[in-house]
Amino acid sequence: MNGATNLRSRIPWQHLVVDVERVRRTMQLGLKSLWLHRLRSLLTGLGIVFGVCSVIAMLAIGEGLSYEAQEQIRRMGSNNIIIRSVKPPEDRSSSAERTRVIEYGLTYADVERIKLTIPTVEVVIPSRIIRSDVWNGTNRIDCDIIGTVPSYPEMRNHHVALGRFFTEEELEENLNVCVLGDGMAEKLFPLDSPLDGIVRIEGDYYKVIGTMEPESERSSMGSPDSNPAAAGPARNATGAPYEMYIPLTAAKSRFGEMLVQRSSGSFSAERVELHEVTIKVGQIDDVVETWHIIADLLTANHKKTDYEIIVPLDLLRQAERTKRIFNIVLGAIAAISLLVGGIGIMNIMLATVTERTREIGIRRALGAKRKDIVLQFLIETVLLSASGGLIGVALGLAIPFFITQFAELQTKVTLWSPLLAFSISALVGVVFGIYPAMRAANMDPVEALRHE
């Protein structure tokens, strides 16, 4: 008989307990009415489903791509600075001077200067890259022959698969030994082990002492401009050009410093001492400073810009910056799609509120306060958008999996992306549910009961 006084005399904490229970029961109720209109609920939530799913999938693809790029850069060595000889652009275009000998690029003097004057430099690896055919009997490969020093593999994080790399002694003694790059052994020695085999380059014979592991960084980082020939050499199964390693001294004495190229009657010759110099800096913090010093040093000693400096650390930072921009763009797309999804939900909820005017009137007559009605419709909207979000998360996790499986594209799902996408979808429910819910709550009970 005196329920109202009872309500007032309740102990304070009990009010909280009741509220938790009420939310649970309101959720049950919400699920029930969403289930009653299954198809409508599904169609309404579809906007959120696609929004959330595309965000997660696109993030995973983007993350995978940038992860791959960053791995490649990291493998180049974040402590390294790579300088490559580049044919100066003004010479390249002047067709009238085809027969002139073009002299450009890095020199042994540059290497000495870098070694002697910059204290932060730990190791300097000079190398020459000559494009030529390699023969074993009638098997031929068009490849880049890299004349370098024994510490090359360690410096470039590129390791020997079989046999060994050449030694300091072999370098000093100017021996004709070689290490085959990935994929070459199968082509040159299809039947037996390449070790101790003999290959021919032009008039000279080289003994094979080892083979290298596949090298992935060249596939994306190798700049064709750094090759002496205009077109790159043939490429192996992983898409990287074929490469063979010989001692720098051998490269110098067997091939000379003049590289001659004949094509369709014209003749061009280039004189390049070194094609590539890899510099290892002792401390990673010194990389940027060393880079600037090297750049100054080279500018002072070269009349033309006939070299390029590649700083993996800088590339890494650029890649990270690019990724950030990518994420911002993606965030904007996601925001728009969730906005559209949210408006769709609001639209349907407004229709639902009108359709259920009578029910609202009944509930108000039976004691529901405005906030009870708000809670009911708000929870229903949030359930709708959150279950859309949940389905979206499931699809969004499945899509990168299938992309990796069938498109052989690396994807990477970070933990925060499904969590973020799901919380945003729930938030969309709150934001776009509040207006329909308020509208439901502000109906006049008498009018609502009279509604047909």
């Binding site: 008989m1 109202a4 309500l7 009415s33 009653l36 009944i362 108000r364 039976l366 004691g367 405005r370």
Partner: protein
């Protein structure tokens, strides 16, 4: 006589219908006593529905006083009125007004739900009431699976769920055939015998004959107020 359970004192109600100001109640005063069975009659437009809305705390008078159970409820705010409706008033409507997606038990439970009563408790009350109106074998059915008479019995059970001070019925037999109608009316008779206070709006003289008191309205005022015994 004892103190009135509900007292309407010089109540006026005006509202806008389109752009026309309508005065539905013009200084109406009436007292209702515990255990009475009252029917309110009158031609349409006489203010029956408006009076019922005010008695049911669905609407507030423009002026005048409405005292329910010793408390002046004419000045309460929306939340307080909701609480009063949920705890002191039971409604039975002409068109049953059950919630379609809920089954019989859940419909009966609704007023208790909004009072924050725990589910196991309200479920027990609902079962008890469903038995009382003869629907023990229909408790899990949805409203659309029931006949009109059965639906109205659910509505009566729901009106009893919060153990109200007064039960307000708005032409409860208006949509029913005569058999189901007299069924419902005998339920009301029973309730009245058990001491419930019933206020019923009706057009039918046949229905009003069962009541102990008939109030006739005309033009927003009490035209006649007669008790029979």
């Amino acid at each position: 006589m004892s103190t009135p359970i509900a007292r309407v004192d010089n109540v006026r109600k005006q509202y806008l219908m389109g752009s026309v100001m309508v005065e539905a109640l013009r200084g109406l005063s009436v007292d209702f006593y515990p255990g009475e069975y009252i029917t309110i009659m009158g031609p349409s437009g006489c203010g029956k529905s408006t009076l019922l809305n005010i008695l049911g705390c669905l609407d507030r008078p423009t002026s005048g006083q409405y005292v329910l159970g010793g408390e002046d409820v004419s000045t309460l705010d929306d939340d307080q009125l909701s609480t009063i409706r949920g705890t002191r008033i039971g409604f039975v409507f002409q068109s049953y007004n059950l919630i379609q997606q809920l089954n019989v038990l859940e419909n009966i439970e609704v007023p208790l739900y909004y009072q924050g009563r725990p589910q196991h408790e309200s479920r027990a009350v609902a079962r008890e009431l469903a038995k009382r109106v003869g629907l023990e074998d229909r408790m899990e059915h949805k409203p659309f699976e029931l006949s009109g008479g059965q639906q109205q019995r659910v509505a009566v059970a729901r009106a009893l769920a919060n153990d109200p001070l007064i039960i307000l019925a708005d032409e409860p037999t208006g949509n029913l055939d005569s058999t189901s109608g007299s069924d419902i009316l005998s339920v009301f008779d029973d309730l009245n015998r058990q001491g419930k206070t019933l206020i019923m709006v009706t057009h039918s003289d046949e229905v009003s004959e069962r009541a102990g008191r008939v109030i006739r309205l005309r033009d927003g005022r009490v035209e006649r107020d007669e008790r029979r015994n």
